[in-house]
Amino acid sequence: MSSTSDITTRSAADLGAAIADGSLSSVEVTQAHLDRIAEVDGAVHAYLHVDADGALAAARAVDESRADRRSDGRISPLAGVPIAVKDVVATRGLPTTAGSRMLEGWIPPYDATLVTRLRAAGMPILGKTNMDEFAMGSSTEHSAYGPSFNPWDLERAPGGSGGGSAAAIAAFEAPLAIGTDTGGSIRQPAAFTGTVGVKPTYGGVSRYGLIALASSLDQAGPCTRTVLDSALLHEVIGGHDPMDSTSIDAPIPGVVAAARRGDVAGLKVGVVHEISGDGFQSGVKDRFEESLKLLEARGAEIVQVGCPSFVKGLAAYYLILPSEASSNLAKFDAMRYGLRVRPQGVDSPSAEQVMAATRDAGFGDEVKRRIILGTYALSAGYYDAYYGQAQKVRTLIARDFAAAFEQVDVLVTPTAPTTAFKLGEKLADPMAMYLNDVATIPANLAGVPGMSLPNGLAEDGLPSGLQILAPAMRDDRLYEVGAALESALLEQWGAPILTRAPHLATMEATR
């Protein structure tokens, strides 16, 4: 790995410890990542905006407070470790576009709660990562600013909508990143890039400052390269926020302790029959089954579980999401911020004409498609047939989960049916793109937590992901099982999976 420095390949946990004991400074760590970004982001396009000055200033502040021994109280284990943030999260003073022309150049006057917590933990923010416009998509090809590229194969998509965050982690352009997951946008990109992604329990991380896609489904969470790193970040950003009415008013489960424990002995691991691999890519299916054996070898009991409603999840999701999105995106109307377009050929346009022209110019095709879908699904006369039915399916899925968790401690599935597909391959076929989320969506509909971790390489040499699901508020179980499987796989491979990525060592700014 000639072009990655020793610093950028280390885990966030290691970097945090090194900064804490003084063997590395935060400025060194931050600069190493900025250098790496300068080197490879031309090829990867993980970032929409890099804030070198802000990140280095935050790093210096951490280093100084440590030098003066001024800091008191509890210090985050991630203090001084830099992070990338998905561009759907509001960052005070830093452009935030949600991947849309609609918000080009918009600089929020406030921080999302999770950003406030990152800053309070002393974590420099490297920049904002690329994403599908308003988090709609499964490939990051719907970004108004061009796609991100999968560091494993630059011809391929890094997944979506959080492809930028996942690619940044996979290409060592950041040790940690923030993603948001509405139907799998943290987990599916993690699977495509050989990284770890966690969607916490709904309400476990504040949504205040996340540009809403679908309020009842959105959840921010960690994108990392190791299970322990995810746990450390989860602890920083999680916990109750009075600014978010749906935020859970209870302590975060002991995720860091669970990640350090990493034990599955005596645990019952349920394989969801309906998404256990039928119709999935053969290599994805094979790696999944091998991992079940690894878990079994470590003392877990593997149980087949039926969740019959899961097959209806995709349809319900693609009604609920566009319905909420059509309403959430109504605020982008050219009145207060962002783009304003004067309609052509009209002398004194009405407010409605300005709104319409702006929305026409500012939103991409996928966003328009979903706004139209959602408007239709909510409209009088169709509400009961569509939105209302979808909510009933949602209830059935929650019941399936409840019944399953009566029998087992966690559920597992492959994260996505395939490995990373080629850019452009599914753009013309929205349904094919939507089908990629079939395994991840049920967790969002039910509000339960989920993790995707690298599960070996499929027959095409690309990473596949394994998904772990746990009951609501039991995020700790994801980490317990995830860490156990991670260490079993590491034993098997002898090195982290990213060392197998063919392009990483020689990647250059060719694009």
Binding site: V89, A90, T96, A98, L103, W106, P108, P109, Y110, A112, R207, Y208, G209, L210, I211, A212, A214, S215, S216, P242, M243, D244, S245, T246, S323, E324, S326, S327, A330, K331, F332, D333, M335, R336, Y337, A351, E352, M355, T375, L378, S379, A380, Y383, Y387
Partner: protein
């Protein structure tokens, strides 16, 4: 189609048609902060100074419910004899409007916090009437557009528009009546009495400033006509922004006449919103409002459901004040006012002032005389509300005391009131400073009486002969001698002692 239909004579209209009306009353709550964020709600602040990411709907901002708003909603519901929901949700009402930041209004749809109630009212002649309440639900206000450059202040012809979002997010309660049927020719009167009674109730609850002129109570009136005796309701129109008690009565009266004219001409009533014009006393066509209006309501996913516990609701019920109508009956009885006197008091809006003045020591008769007489008259001249006129119940009680103690007569008391209003101090201080006091020294008075009798022998003789009417002239002369600082009744006694 022509919308300038003639108006049929009112008596003629109600002789042939039964009016059916319903009211939607929007009440702005007097919470210190907005419904879904911590911004201040003060009236009249500089535009856009009372805003934040939440009420401006900046990307990512989320609402959090103001618990004081919920409390006020429940208290209003209870005072309107409503059921209080044990579980309810906010909903999004989706439509685009430049002064609505989110382009949906956070409101309540099929799950209002209060429903199925009633309000008993009394018409001017004492007729009782019960108006049934459909629901009372919570929602938020929108911002306010200002259209600049046109001659009318309307968007048509304006050069540009400015939007003030200070009001966006201010908590509102919308109270919706069931259709009021059977009021006949008294429909406008019932509507007015309902709004008046509701306003008094809201004031007593202390949940709103109830200033119609500042828009803190806004009223929309639905009206339809059906031929006398018919069962099926007619097509309705909704008249917006009827913002005074008198307008409620006038707007409904006008619409009854207009509907009758349209129906008489054989045309159909067009379902639409109409705008009330206070100055000209007519309504004009607004926008068509069909049943196909589609707000795409759905439960607001950013807010958790509201589930007030029974104990909480009962605790709030215990905070309800005595209903204003009941209270008035009790006070009238306590004070011994006639119906006519009590109506004067109500018309003057002086109930609370009198109550406090009596509590401060004045007699009910004196308190009524001052507040509904001299003060109401002066306030009327200056077009100010009497409760904000610069004189307090304590002042009036003190003034009444000076009169009843014999220190001042009425004319002097009015001068003292002038001084108090001019900021010269309390009534006693004003009387002292201005040297106003009845002459208590009988020696001086008797000297004056003797002098006047001596100077007016022919008049004195008339009195001696039993023509007591003539004594007035003597009293006047003595009063003049005393420069007004004497008690006329006492002078009369002294004169009559001498002459009879």
């Amino acid at each position: 189609m022509s919308l300038t239909a003639e108006v049929v004579d009112y008596d003629d209209a109600v002789a042939r048609y039964d009016p059916v009306f319903g009211l939607e009353v929007h009440v702005e709550l007097n919470t210190a902060t907005k419904m879904f964020c911590g911004c201040a709600t003060g009236f009249g602040a500089e535009p856009n100074t009372q805003t934040c990411p939440v009420c401006l709907a900046l990307p990512g901002a989320l609402p959090v419910v103001n618990t004081m708003g919920i409390e006020s909603a429940i208290r209003i519901g209870l005072a309107l004899n409503c059921e209080i929901a044990t579980w309810c949700r906010f909903a999004r009402k989706n439509y685009f409007y430049p002064d609505m930041p989110k382009n949906f209004q956070t409101s309540q749809y099929d799950e209002p916090i209060a429903f199925e109630g009633y309000l008993d009212i009394t018409l001017d002649d004492g007729t009782p009437w019960r108006v049934e309440i459909e629901r009372a639900h919570m929602e938020e206000d929108t911002g306010k557009s200002l259209h600049v450059g046109g001659s009318t202040g309307r968007i048509q012809g304006a050069e540009y528009s400015l939007v003030d979002y200070n009001r966006a997010g201010i908590p509102l309660i919308e109270i919706v009546t069931k259709p009021v049927v059977g009021a006949g020719e008294r429909a406008p009167e019932v509507a007015k009495a309902f709004v008046a009674t509701l306003r008094d109730l809201l004031k007593a609850l202390d949940v709103s400033d109830v200033r119609m002129e500042q828009g803190s109570v806004r009223c929309d009136a639905n009206l339809s006509l059906k031929p006398r005796g018919a069962q099926q309701l007619g097509t309705r129109t909704e008249t917006k922004n009827v913002n005074s008690l008198r307008s409620v009565e006038r707007a409904i009266t006008y619409e009854i006449g207009r509907h009758a004219a349209v129906l008489d001409s054989g045309e159909a009533i067009f379902q639409e919103t109409r705008h009330w014009h206070e100055d000209t006393g007519v309504t004009t066509s607004g926008r068509p409002k069909s049943d196909a209006d589609d707000y795409r309501y759905f439960p607001e996913p950013d807010l958790v459901p509201v589930a007030p516990s029974r104990e909480y609701v009962e605790r709030l019920r215990a905070t309800l004040p005595e209903p204003p109508t009941q209270r008035r009956k009790r006070l009238q009885q306590d004070w011994g006012y006639s119906d006519l006197e009590m109506r004067d008091v109500l018309n003057a809006g002086a109930t609370e002032l009198i109550e406090q003045t009596v509590a401060d020591g004045a007699s009910p008769a004196a308190a009524r005389k001052w507040w509904t007489g001299e003060i109401a008259r002066r306030a009327n001249v200056e077009a100010k509300p009497i409760d904000d006129f610069g004189v307090t119940p304590a002042h009036i009680a003190e003034l009444a005391g000076l009169v009843s103690d014999g220190r001042l007569n009425d004319a002097m008391a009015r001068q003292v009131l002038d001084g108090a209003l001019a900021g010269e101090g309390t009534p006693t201080q004003v009387a002292d400073a201005r040297g106003l006091a009845l002459v208590q020294d009988d020696g001086a008075l008797e000297a004056a009486v003797d002098a006047v009798i001596a100077a007016n022998v022919p008049i004195a003789d008339k009195v001696r002969e039993g023509k007591l009417n003539a004594v007035g002239a003597l009293i006047g002369a003595v009063m003049k001698e005393m420069r007004g600082q004497a008690d006329a009744a006492h002078i009369r006694d002294l004169i009559l002692q001498r002459l009879t």
